[in-house]
């Protein structure tokens, strides 16, 4: 390149200088934007932790909500969120994965299925408040579940189902067809092929989708507010038909209070929510890596 002994062929104007500049410009732009994101996130975390860390304590986790800031805790909200998210996972994961399996492995490619496919993608973009209204009408009123954990979980299921289906389908699609063919060639039925080979191979991808979806569900406020989660529930739910509150709602209510101490409580609540979220994600990622390792 820089050894300029040979005369460059005249048909080409390689303009290396300019191309190198473009190349590094693009790289630096990407780096800048990435660090900007990380910086904003870092600022947020620092801000939250400095405001709320002093409020986070064992009592804070253990106490029910209270009008007096120093006695207030988020036990009922914390347990409500756990109940909601576990119930949602129990309903949404099997439904989502089975739908994805059906659409990818069993359903014929016809107009109806193409129509369903497009609409699942559309559903993923519907605002969560709309699901909240649907949940209120369908689960709370029509099916008479009342403002319960079950109604909340079903509503969140509606919300995250499209995400789980889309991610699972992509993961299933990425499983090489040769694995299916070799299983069939050995005299396997479709069920055996799918459950012994396709699903395990797709599991890491499915897990990623599930993690994203549940992370979204855990932070959602609007839909569960809509189905009737209330802020002043003093007891943790003891069954899926009990009333509940959840962390985002508790945080929202504290943030609205006039006394400045409640702002600290809200920040403390955010810390708890974030820690819960990170813990959940870490567990899921661990499981994913383990299955990925077993695959190769």
């Amino acid at each position: 390149m820089s050894t300029s002994q040979a005369t460059p062929p005249s048909e080409f104007n390689s303009a290396l200088e300019r191309r190198r500049f473009t190349s590094s410009l693009f790289k630096n732009c990407c780096a800048f934007l990435s660090w900007l994101c990380i910086g904003i996130l870092g600022f947020l975390l620092v801000h939250i932790f400095s405001a709320g860390w002093e409020w986070v304590s064992f009592d804070f986790l253990k106490n029910p909500p209270s009008r007096m800031p120093h006695k207030a805790g988020l036990f009922s909200a914390f347990m409500g969120t756990i109940w909601i998210i576990v119930t949602t996972a129990c309903i949404a994961i099997p439904m989502g994965v089975c739908s994805a399996l059906y659409l990818e492995e069993y359903a014929r490619k016809n107009r109806l299925n193409t129509f369903i496919e497009i609409n699942i993608a559309n559903l993923a973009g519907v605002p969560s408040i709309v699901y909240g209204i649907l949940g209120l009408t369908l689960f709370v009123r029509f099916l008479k579940f009342g403002p319960s954990v079950l109604a909340g979980a079903l509503t969140l299921t509606l919300l995250i189902l499209p995400v789980i289906i889309i991610a699972s389908r992509e993961a299933i699609k990425a499983v090489p067809p040769s694995i299916r063919l070799s299983a069939y060639a050995l005299g396997a039925t479709q069920f055996q092929t799918v459950f012994h080979h396709v699903l395990p191979a797709a599991l890491p991808g499915i897990m990623t989708g599930v993690i994203l979806a549940l992370s979204r569900a855990i932070g959602e406020t609007a839909p569960i507010l809509m189905v009737g989660a209330v802020a002043y529930v003093r007891k943790a739910p003891s069954g899926i038909l009990d009333g509940f509150t959840a962390l985002p709602i508790q945080i929202y209510n504290w943030a609205r209070e006039a006394k400045p101490e409640f702002e600290g409580l809200a920040a403390g609540g955010i810390i708890v929510l974030l820690v819960l979220l990170f813990t959940m994600n870490s567990i899921a990622i661990l499981i994913r890596n383990k299955t990925q390792k077993a695959q190769s």
Partner: protein, 288 residues
């Protein structure tokens, strides 16, 4: 079918049943037999087979017999329909939504496309080895043990794994790492693992779709030796692009072009004095 032929078929059938215990006489008799008796002893056959993808015919009115305990090579230029024809014999074309198969494909007493035939049944009797080695992303042991297990194998699985690997001439190379991932094997080893995996199901026919095209010459010669060994027990059909390979291993050769079976004869005849000019052009490398 005339009654004389019928009697003959039945006696062959009985003979085949005794086959595993006494492989030697079979070999002797096959050496003595000529083309005619081989053809009578062909239990895998297609009559007037036409296979279409949508409106395009990939295989046109092919009549073909695959003699038992022989290796039949199917050769022809790319896109001539040879792989399509091969896959039809264990119903692998079922997975291509637009593919349709007409005509009759028979293995012994089984109409491969009969209404009451489960494709799983077909594939249990007619095994397949694919072009690219495609082991499951699991251990070597599990690759072989899986199919017998799901099909309710009653014998000792460990023994079956060992004997299958021995038949595929792979045992010595992998016996100390059966529980390692199959993906750690070389391409040639993976392909022999796929053969071992197919053999573990004790099929009667082995279809091989260009099994060596992704392999180096040493692995290729391993697999060719293996095929010559395996034909004592199995009927083998191999699709290949490699004319030398067809000449080296096969007893019979079918030449296809543009979906039509141009010529079928014993391999010596096809390669030395084919009766059709097009075959001669192809085997002598003038086209394709």
């Amino acid at each position: 079918m005339s009654s004389a032929e019928k009697t003959h078929t039945v006696s062959e059938e009985e003979f085949m049943n005794k086959r595993p215990a006494t492989p030697e006489p079979q070999k002797n008799s096959s050496e003595a037999s000529d083309k005619e008796s081989d053809m009578k002893n062909a239990h895998l056959k297609g009559d007037n087979v036409t296979i279409s993808y949508g409106s395009e015919q990939a295989v046109k009115n092919v009549d073909i017999r695959f003699p038992t305990n022989k290796i039949t090579a199917v050769i022809g230029p790319s896109g001539c329909g040879k792989s399509t024809l091969l896959r039809a014999f264990n119903r692998m074309n079922d997975f291509i939504p637009s593919a349709s198969v007409e005509g009759s494909l028979i293995y012994r007493d089984m109409d491969l496309y009969g209404k009451d035939i489960d494709p799983v049944e077909v594939r249990l009797r007619i095994g397949m080895v694919f072009q690219k080695p495609n082991p499951f992303p699991k251990t070597i042991y599990k690759n072989i043990a899986w199919a017998p297990q799901i099909n309710g194998y009653k014998g000792d699985i460990d023994e079956l794994v060992e004997s299958s690997l021995r038949s595929a001439a792979l045992w010595d190379e992998v016996s100390d790492r059966l529980h390692d991932s199959a993906l750690g094997l070389s391409g040639g080893q993976q392909q022999r693992l796929c053969i071992a995996r197919a053999l573990a199901m004790k099929p009667e026919v082995l279809l091989m779709d260009e099994p060596c095209s992704a392999l180096d010459p040493v692995s290729t010669s391993h697999i060719e030796d293996l095929m010559l060994e395996l034909k004592k027990q199995y009927t083998i059909v191999i699709v290949t692009h490699n004319m030398q390979q067809a000449a080296r291993v096969s007893d019979y050769t079918a030449f296809m072009d543009s979906g039509v079976l141009i010529e079928f004869d014993d391999t010596g005849t096809i390669f030395t004095k084919p009766s059709v000019q097009r075959t001669e052009d192809y085997v002598s490398g003038r086209f394709g």
